[in-house]
């Protein structure tokens, strides 16, 4: 079981002081949060991708590469990579490069993005979101698995004799998750490839998450990747904790009430009962989180949103300290009753082992044995 955090990268005023951090502060804070996540023993740090204010999460690959250089163990991921508006050729190159730089500590989560104008800014149409996600990922999947790709489709210029470089580290592409809140087509896509499926979970009732995950599991089995309970499932989560639960409620309320996503809407009490948000003591967060398995089954990755709604960096780091304190109990609880045939989340190491060991995939312009160019032997 992997436990980590995901960051949207929003620059939001702190409602208790009215102060908005600068972009520079927020970008540096993101790095500090990722390093803290590793320090307290978390497994994953994932960053979002946005191309408009108030976010600083454009160019996620630079952020991940930099964090990769400052950390040792933590797996770097995305939440999400915009497979709709980002050229899959660039995704193939960028994330293979990060694989090499971080010795395989990277995976990705594909998402579509729901900010309308971002699509035309990148020459795309939001009404074609599903089609873009399907076609672009099909190309990305090939680029990491075939040395020379000839391809044509509806949404980018054709490729003839194209080799994406660098080739994936050890001949094994990064593991891919597909994230969607409410599109069954994306659960179907994840199931088809035998990839992971991640449900954001945090803004919607559990009954909805349960059905999306159940659909993915059913179709994962249908496509022959294993039994439904072996499908690779990730969930989002959201908490605010203090040792004394009433302190957590009092301190978090102004952030909740003014949060960009749900602020000025339901009361914090209603929202915590309707969604997985937990505001309370570490013990309450522990128990609530362990309860997620009741409706999605044993799963592989739990990511929490901790740096949002204008919470100051100091508070976020304190939240990570508290998460670190309950981490052993969280791991022990998640392991309880977990059948042996339920796999862990794939890592670079496990994927290399499954592929029968590492092999270097370097494509040389001219094959030094046969003298042929790579394009000619495709």
């Amino acid at each position: 079981m992997q436990i980590g955090i995901f960051s949207v990268g929003d620059v939001t005023p702190d409602p208790t002081t009215g102060r908005t951090p600068t972009e520079h502060e927020r970008i540096k804070a993101t790095v500090a949060i990722a390093r803290k996540a590793e320090e307290v023993g978390l497994d994953v740090f994932a960053t979002g991708e946005h191309h408009n204010p108030p976010f600083v999460s454009s160019n996620p690959t630079a952020t991940l590469a930099y964090i990769g250089a400052k950390t040792e163990k933590i797996v770097l991921s995305t939440a999400t990579t915009l497979i709709t508006t980002t050229d899959p050729v660039l995704i193939a190159e960028d994330y293979a490069k990060i694989q090499h730089l971080t010795d395989g500590r990277v995976d990705l989560m594909m998402g579509r993005g729901n900010t309308g104008p971002v699509y035309p800014w990148f020459g795309k149409d939001i009404r074609k979101g599903i089609e873009l996600a399907v076609e672009n990922y099909a190309l990305l999947h090939r680029l990491w698995r075939e040395d020379v790709v000839n391809w044509s489709g509806s949404y980018r210029t054709p490729l003839q004799g194209y080799t994406s470089t660098p080739r994936p580290l050890d001949g094994v592409p990064p593991f891919v998750w597909h994230g969607s809140i409410r599109s069954p087509e994306i659960a179907e896509q994840a199931a088809y490839y035998g990839d992971g499926f991640f449900h954001n979970h945090i803004f919607w009732p559990a009954s909805h998450t349960r059905q999306m995950v159940a659909l993915y599991r059913r179709r994962f089995e249908h496509y022959g990747h294993g039994s439904a309970d072996q499908a690779i499932v990730g969930l989002g989560g959201q908490f605010f904790m203090r040792r004394n639960s009433q302190d957590a409620v009092n301190e978090f309320r102004p952030y909740f009430d003014n949060a960009p996503v749900y602020g000025h809407g339901p009361s914090m009490e209603d929202f915590t009962s309707q969604t997985p948000l937990t505001v309370g003591s570490p013990q309450q967060v522990l128990e609530r989180t362990l309860g997620f398995r009741d409706y999605v089954g044993h799963y592989q990755r739990q990511l929490f949103l901790v740096d949002h709604a204008g919470l100051p960096l100091k508070t976020v780091l304190e939240q990570l300290d508290l998460l670190g304190e309950i981490l052993p109990d969280l791991r022990a609880g998640m392991a309880e009753g977990r059948p042996a045939h339920v796999p862990d989340a794939p890592t670079h190491g496990s994927l290399v082992a499954a592929a029968g060991g590492a092999h270097d995939g370097t494509v040389h312009a001219v094959d030094d044995v046969t003298g042929h160019r790579a394009e000619e032997i495709a």
Partner: protein, 214 residues
């Protein structure tokens, strides 16, 4: 034996008692009678939007229906016939009424027979049914019955005699049209996709090889 038809009435009146609800009840009774004449039983559900006002505002901000609102949306989605009644506010349907239809999934009312009705202080607003409500339900691909029922305050005290073209006559005619649509046509091809079972948000999955070929 065929199951009773699901008649759902959506009323956006705010006061207690409300003339909007009064008109809604008359339309529900008349539709039930008209269906009975056709040998159809009726299972009636009344959705009072006032009770869901907070949940509707929350839905606008969170994107999901909570608690009783989720049940109301499910009932409307499963309706064989729908009666919708709004008070006229500022020359159109009320904001509460529109909000409810704003949060429905785009195809939820596709092919559903709908009777349109509205109330106001004076008859000068009666065309609101034609310039505001009918385009809304056309957009939602519902099938509106030709007679829409408007009741001004005066109408509640006039035209009770059979043959007279007052409110009761219009209520009967509209209810008859709705009953004919709901009970008459043999299962017209409603909705492009199969509706999921009540506990299932997701109906038929489109197999991935089809998605790839699109």
């Amino acid at each position: 034996m065929t199951r009773p038809l699901r008649l759902v009435v959506v009323s956006a009146g705010l006061s207690q008692p409300s003339s909007t609800r009064l008109l809604a009840d008359q339309l529900a009774d008349a539709t039930t009678s008209a269906l009975a004449e056709r040998g159809a039983g009726v299972e009636l559900t009344v959705v009072e939007l006032r009770e869901h006002a907070h949940a509707l505002a929350d839905h606008l901000l969170t994107g999901f229906a909570s608690g009783a609102l989720a049940d109301a949306v499910a009932a409307v989605g499963a309706a064989d016939a729908l009666v919708v009644v709004t008070p006229v506010f500022s020359a159109s349907y009320s904001g509460l009424f529109k909000t409810f239809f704003d949060v429905l999934e785009p195809n939820l009312l596709e092919g559903t027979p709908v009777l349109l009705a509205a109330t106001a202080g004076t008859a000068r607003h009666s065309l609101v049914l034609e310039h505001a409500l009918r385009p809304l339900f056309s957009y939602l691909r519902a099938v509106t019955v030709p007679t829409a029922v408007f009741a001004a305050t005066d109408d509640f005290g006039a035209g009770g005699q059979p043959g007279e073209d007052g409110l009761p006559g219009r209520v009967r005619r509209a209810a008859g049209e709705l009953a004919a649509l709901a009970a008459g046509a043999p299962a017209a091809p409603r909705r492009t996709a199969a509706l999921p079972a009540p506990d299932e948000e997701f109906g038929e999955v489109i197999p991935f090889d089809q998605l790839l070929r699109r």
